[in-house]
C-alpha cells in the first residue's frame, strides 16, 4: 500500500468522479455529497468497468411503508454499465447480494490534494 496524489481537491466537487490507474489497479474516486470514496473499477458480476457507470439513486421498498416503491440514496448508487448491478459508493455494498461488498480504499483531502491509499 502506498499513497498517491490522484487529483486536486478542486477537480472533484460533489458529484464528480475520476477513475485512476495505480500500478495494475484501476480505482474510481467519487465525491458523494462532500465525502470522498474509492472503489475498484471491477464489477463482481462479469468484471466490467463498474466505476464508469451511472451514479444516481435507486428504488427502495421498506416494510414500514408496505413495500411501496420509493426513490432514495440519490447520488450514492453506482450501476455497472454492463448489466446494471448496483453498488453503494459509500460502503462498497452490492444492493442485490447482502454478502457481497467491494473493498474500499482510504482516500482523503490534504490541503489541495486528494490522496488515495492503494
Amino acid at each position: 500500500m502506498a499513497e498517491h496524489v490522484v487529483a486536486r481537491a478542486a477537480e472533484l466537487p460533489p458529484g464528480a468522479r475520476r477513475v485512476v490507474r495505480v500500478g495494475r489497479l484501476e480505482i474510481g474516486v467519487f465525491n458523494v455529497g462532500g465525502t470522498l470514496h474509492a472503489l475498484p473499477n471491477i464489477c463482481t458480476h462479469q468484471f466490467g468497468p463498474l466505476c464508469l457507470g451511472h451514479v444516481g439513486g435507486t428504488v427502495l421498498a421498506r416494510a414500514e411503508t408496505g413495500y411501496r416503491f420509493e426513490w432514495g440514496l440519490d447520488g450514492q448508487i453506482i450501476s455497472c454499465p454492463w448489466h446494471g448491478l448496483e453498488f453503494d459508493l459509500t460502503t462498497g455494498r452490492c444492493l442485490a447480494y447482502p454478502r457481497v461488498r467491494l473493498r474500499t480504499y482510504p482516500v482523503r483531502v490534504e490541503g489541495e490534494e486528494i490522496i488515495l491509499t492503494a
Binding site: 466490467g48 444516481g56 435507486t58 426513490w71 454492463w82
Partner: protein, 386 residues
C-alpha cells in the same frame, strides 16, 4: 521452492466463436435492397418513429415492455446497445477477445409477427442482400444466418438454396417469437430437407416478451419474470414441437440449435420427456429410443448463461445433459444481457473443455467457419484427434 503450475490459459489464447451477435437493420438501410414493388412500403416504414426493437410496422410490438423502457428508475446504462456496422462489430468483438461472430438481426427477430407474408419474405430477401454487401466481407470474421420466414416456405426455401453455397452464410435462422404454428409442423419440413442437404444447421431465436399468441402468456408482468420465461418457453415449446412430428428422425443430419435461453432448462426437459415417453411411446412411434437420445444431439448456445454461486453446479448440469460437445458460447452482443466470454471461460473445467465450449464445438456445428490464422495450428492438432 516455487511450484510452477505452467501458463494458465487466457481468453487471448483460445479461439472464441460467438454464436449470437446482432446487427441492426433499419428500413432506411434495407430499402435499396428490396424489390421495387415493396420499396415504397419500406421507405414508408422509415418515416415512422424509431423505437428500439419496437418500430411500428418493422418490428411489431413486443407485447410487453422492453428492458430499460420500464425498469423503475431506469438502469443508467452508459452504452448504446446497437451495432451499426461490420467494422464496429469487429472492433467491439475484438475488445471482448471474440474472434468470430455469427450475425442475427435485431428488428427482424420478430419477423414472424409481420402479418403480411409477402412483405415479410421480401424483407428477408432485402436483409440478406444488405448483409452480403455491407457485413460479410470475405476479409472479416463475421458470418450470418439465412432468415426463413414461416409465412412463406417457398420463399424461405428459395433463399436457402440461393445462399446454400455462400461461404459466409452458416445456418438458417428460424424466427421463433410469435411463430405459429411452431417449427415442428409438417408445412416447414421442406425447409429442413433443404437445410440438411446444404449442410446448414437451423437456429431458433426468440425475443424477450410474451403475447397472446406465442410465447404463451404465463401472466408475468415484470421484466425479471418475463425475461426468465420468454426465451426459455419459446425454445422448450419448439423442441417439443420438433419431437412431436419426428423431425430428428425425418432429418437425421439436420443440426438444431437453441439460443438465448441459457442451459439449465435442458436437463429438466430431457428428463420430463423421458418420463412421459415411458407411458406413451405410441404417441411418438418414430423413435427407436427415448427422447433424450435425440436431444443429446441438439445444440445449445450458452447465453444468458446461468451463474450459480457455485459454478460447479453449472458444470454438473452441462454434464447431465451431455453438453460437453454440444454447447457453444454466445455473447448476444450488443444486447443488454450480453455475456462476457469469461462467464463461460472461467467455468471450472479442463482446458480442453474450455476450448470446446468457446470455439471448437462451434467449428463442428458450423464447419464453414474459416479458422483465423492465429489458431490454425492448434485447431489442426485438435481436428486430428477427432
Amino acid at each position: 521452492m516455487a511450484i510452477d503450475v505452467g501458463p494458465r490459459l487466457s481468453l487471448r489464447d483460445v479461439l472464441i466463436v460467438d454464436g449470437d451477435v446482432h446487427a441492426h437493420e433499419q428500413p432506411e438501410q434495407i430499402a435499396p435492397y428490396v424489390a421495387p414493388r415493396w420499396r415504397e412500403a419500406v421507405e414508408n416504414a422509415a418515416r415512422l418513429p424509431y423505437r428500439y426493437l419496437n418500430r411500428p410496422g418493422w418490428s411489431p410490438g413486443a407485447g410487453h415492455m422492453l428492458p430499460g423502457a420500464a425498469l423503475p428508475g431506469g438502469r443508467g446504462k452508459a452504452r448504446e446497445e446497437i451495432v451499426w456496422s461490420a467494422a464496429q462489430m469487429t472492433q467491439q468483438l475484438a475488445a471482448l477477445d471474440i474472434d468470430v461472430g455469427i450475425i442475427f438481426p435485431d428488428h427482424f427477430l420478430k419477423i414472424a409477427a409481420i402479418s403480411d407474408g409477402a412483405f415479410a419474405a421480401e424483407l428477408a430477401r432485402g436483409y440478406h442482400r444488405w448483409l452480403e454487401e455491407l457485413w460479410l466481407d470475405p476479409e472479416n470474421d463475421l458470418y450470418a444466418a439465412i432468415v426463413a420466414v414461416p409465412h412463406d416456405v417457398d420463399a424461405a426455401v428459395a433463399e436457402i438454396e440461393r445462399y446454400a453455397g455462400h461461404p459466409k452464410f452458416v445456418g438458417v435462422f428460424l424466427p421463433t417469437c410469435q411463430v405459429y404454428p411452431l417449427w415442428g409442423h409438417r408445412r416447414y419440413w421442406r425447409i429442413y430437407e433443404v437445410a440438411q442437404e446444404a449442410g446448414l444447421p437451423v437456429m431458433l431465436h426468440s425475443v424477450a416478451g410474451s403475447s397472446w399468441a406465442f410465447p404463451f402468456n404465463t401472466e408475468q408482468h415484470t421484466g425479471i419474470a418475463v425475461h426468465t420465461a420468454s426465451h426459455v418457453f419459446a425454445m422448450m415449446a419448439n423442441l417439443m414441437s420438433f419431437m412431436e412430428t419426428g423431425v430428428p428422425v425425418r432429418f437425421p443430419r439436420l443440426a438444431i440449435v437453441f439460443s438465448e435461453a441459457g442451459l439449465t432448462w435442458v436437463p429438466f426437459l430431457r428428463m420430463r420427456l423421458d418420463k412421459e415417453y415411458n407411458e406413451n411411446r405410441r404417441g411418438w412411434p418414430y423413435y427407436a429410443d427415448r427422447p433424450s437420445a435425440y436431444i443429446r444431439k441438439m445444440w445449445f448456445m450458452t447465453q444468458p448463461v446461468e451463474e450459480p454461486e457455485n459454478p460447479r453446479d453449472l458444470v454438473d448440469l452441462i454434464r447431465i445433459y451431455d453438453g460437453e460437445d454440444q454447447t457453444v458460447f454466445a455473447s448476444d452482443w450488443p444486447h443488454h444481457d450480453f455475456d462476457h466470454p469469461r462467464a463461460v471461460f472461467d467455468l471450472p473445467v479442463s482446458d480442453l473443455v474450455k476450448q470446446k465450449l468457446m470455439g471448437l464445438n462451434a467449428l463442428r456445428l458450423w464447419p464453414r467457419i474459416r479458422v483465423p490464422a492465429k489458431y490454425a495450428a492448434s485447431v489442426t492438432v485438435w481436428r486430428n484427434t477427432l
